[in-house]
């Protein structure tokens, strides 16, 4: 760690860990409800559980992104963060808005639009919070001595993510128009500007961990984010097949979303190539594991499993079934959850100065969570395909088909237990590092000095 102010990242990472554990608990509640065990229905009905599960995901990932930015931007721009008190205020307000939203879901305070369930009055607070965050980052960049591509790609991703939240805050009378703009937020986030953030964090990690020349890594970063937008922007069309929008989206969305895996494949090949080119053996093997798994699993989850149901002829049958849940889980896990876990694994030893960076528990956490998630995705896939055949092809009534799916949810719960064990170990490991200390300043830089110039 180079700068004292980088320590602020710890708060955001700790919040991420807390919200991730809650998200998993709500996932279990929903899986049990699918099997018919909905004993909590009176207090946590399914619609409250699903809103909580999804929004905890969004908030913990965003909290992780913010922590990453607070850690990376001072390092990349060679300057202390502009204002630590402002960052603290921003942290507490983010946590408070999050808690209010989650309590709200349990008493039926919703906006009821998938992924954007947070009610509009709170939306304004979220927007304000993000503006404060961005000001802090931008002033730091402005005052900094260096302006690296990595820092700019990361920051522009954060800025555009904030701008794209706005179309989701407008009320439209027409449900189709509302859905249309909801995807401007959700799709252009996860298959657009969040990939800028991902590209920025990933190239920072690769520069640090592999020792490959910055110029080479950043050149390929441009190519990959270029490919992402080339396919991803018009790829939004795969949400516009069957919601009351014109037929040309079937063609445009089909072609461009079928190209989206290429951007992810590019990311995978890029990471693996840089790893192989790297001549340096960084001691933080866990961070390297998570960095490479992000690149690989995002291609499998977002790329391949997305492709599996993105063509209009397939999507006509899979639209609105558990097949979507299959893709969603591995895509978010690979692309964004693993990414946040990677930057946490990289930064914790540097912030705390504790050299327990390559331990058995960390490796167990890595393998159990990844294997568990792949098992969960397999269970969703089996359930989804069975649902499509029963309901959409044979015309079986929804609830009759659902009863037949219960065994798949049993498998889901087994796999989720493995996954949750992995995450528990990760969090125990996180806690074992303790809190950041000033004595850690200057430590670990011997590895950074080897290659950055």
């Amino acid at each position: 760690m180079k700068y004292k102010s980088q320590k602020i990242a710890y708060y955001f990472f700790a919040l991420s860990m807390l919200l991730l554990s809650l998200q998993i608990i709500y996932g279990f509640i929903m899986a049990f409800a699918h099997m018919g065990y909905d004993g909590l229905h009176q207090w946590i009905p399914f619609n409250a559980a699903t809103a909580t599960h999804k929004n905890l995901l969004v908030v913990w990932i965003i909290s992780g992104f913010m922590g990453a930015a607070y850690f990376i931007i001072p390092d990349e721009s060679d300057h202390e963060l502009w204002s630590v008190p402002l960052a603290l205020i921003q942290f507490y307000s983010l946590a408070i808005v999050g808690v209010v939203a989650i309590i709200g879901f349990h008493v039926g305070w919703f906006e009821g639009r998938k992924f954007l369930e947070i009610p509009r009055p709170l939306d304004y607070l979220v927007a304000l919070n993000v503006i404060v965050f961005l000001i802090n980052i931008l002033v730091t960049l402005y005052k900094g001595k260096k302006h690296s591509t990595t820092a700019w790609v990361l920051t522009s991703g954060l800025i555009f993510a904030a701008l794209l939240y706005l179309p989701g805050m407008v009320w439209f009378d027409n449900h189709t128009v509302d859905s249309f703009f909801r995807w401007w937020v959700v799709h252009l986030w996860v298959e657009g500007v969040w990939e800028l953030i991902m590209g920025g964090i990933l190239s920072y990690l690769l520069i640090k961990l592999t020792g490959v020349d910055r110029e080479v890594i950043e050149k390929w970063l441009y190519v990959i984010v270029g490919l992402t937008f080339l396919s991803g922007i018009l790829g939004t069309g795969h949400h516009y097949y069957y919601i009351g929008t014109p037929k040309y989206w079937l063609l445009v969305g089909g072609i461009f979303s079928a190209m989206e895996p290429l951007a992810f494949l590019g990311m995978t090949l890029f990471a693996i190539q840089m790893y192989r080119k790297g001549n340096k053996k960084h001691p933080n093997k866990l961070a390297l594991h998570w960095t490479l798994s992000t690149a690989i699993v995002s291609f499998l989850g977002a790329g391949l499993l997305g492709l599996a149901h993105t063509l209009p002829g397939v999507n006509l049958y899979t639209h609105g079934t558990l097949v979507t849940a299959m893709h969603g889980h591995l895509a978010f896990w690979g692309a964004y959850a693993s990414l946040v876990l990677a930057i946490i694994s990289y930064s914790m030893p540097l912030m705390t100065g504790r050299k327990i960076l390559d331990n058995a528990m960390g490796h167990f956490a890595f393998w159990l969570s990844n294997i568990g998630m792949i098992g969960m995705v397999a269970a969703f896939a089996a359930a989804g395909v069975a649902q499509v055949y029963m309901e959409r092809i044979m015309g079986v009534d929804f609830m009759k088909a659902q009863l037949e799916l219960a065994p798949h949810f049993f498998v889901l719960i087994l796999a989720a237990t493995v996954f949750a064990t992995g995450i528990t170990l990760y969090i125990i490991n996180f806690l074992k590092f303790g809190v950041p200390v000033d004595e850690a300043i200057g430590q670990g830089e011997e590895f950074a000095a080897l290659q950055t110039n």
Binding site: A33, H34, G36, D38, H41, P45, F46, N47, A48, A49, T50, A51, F105, G108, F110, E111, G112, R113, K114, E117, T149, D173, H175, T176, V177, S179, F180, K219, Y222, V223, F229, L230, I233, L234, Y240, Y241, Y242, G244, T245, P246, K247, Y248, W249, V252, L316, H319, G320, T321, L322, T324, Q387, E391, I393, M394, G395, V396, F398, M399, Q402, L403
Partner: protein, 143 residues
């Protein structure tokens, strides 16, 4: 070989071009197509109220509509045609909560006006042209 500058140009240029195309298609979709395909002239005050209730109660947290939402409870795009107004209205306030095959729905306390508004919303959704969704089962054995 590609230089960093060329790579940057590829990223910025490509993104700008495709974003402009996307905005153009969005305008065409919303101005020339969606009003006709969704019969926007039929969005009455009652339909608007129905959709407001749909959002405020997070119905999408269990059901899907136009194929979007959660996968815990039935797809409702064609529920008006499938079940009819009386059946739909009977479900909302069912004492103890509607419970088909053991799966709980929240018990709502909607007024008659609110129930009619939701039915009007479902009727409006039912009439929209969704390019063939939901598909007709090709091997129907259930009837």
């Amino acid at each position: 070989m590609l230089s960093k500058k060329q790579a940057k140009l590829f990223f910025l240029g490509g993104t700008a071009i495709f974003f402009l195309i996307f905005v153009g298609m969005t305008v065409d979709t919303l101005v020339n197509h969606v009003p006709r395909q969704t019969h926007a002239e039929n969005i009455t005050q009652q339909v608007r109220m129905g959709r407001h209730l749909w959002d405020a109660n997070n119905c999408m947290g269990c059901h899907t509509i136009m194929g979007e939402g959660a996968y815990y409870a039935p797809e409702l795009t064609k529920v008006y045609e499938r079940r009819g107004a009386d059946y739909i209205k009977a479900v909302f306030n069912f004492p103890g909560g509607w419970r088909p095959h053991g799966r709980h729905m929240v018990e709502y306390n909607f007024t008659e006006e609110e129930k009619d508004a939701l039915v009007a919303f479902f009727k409006w959704v039912d009439e929209a042209d969704l390019n063939g969704f939901p598909p007709k089962p090709s091997l129907s054995l259930d009837r």
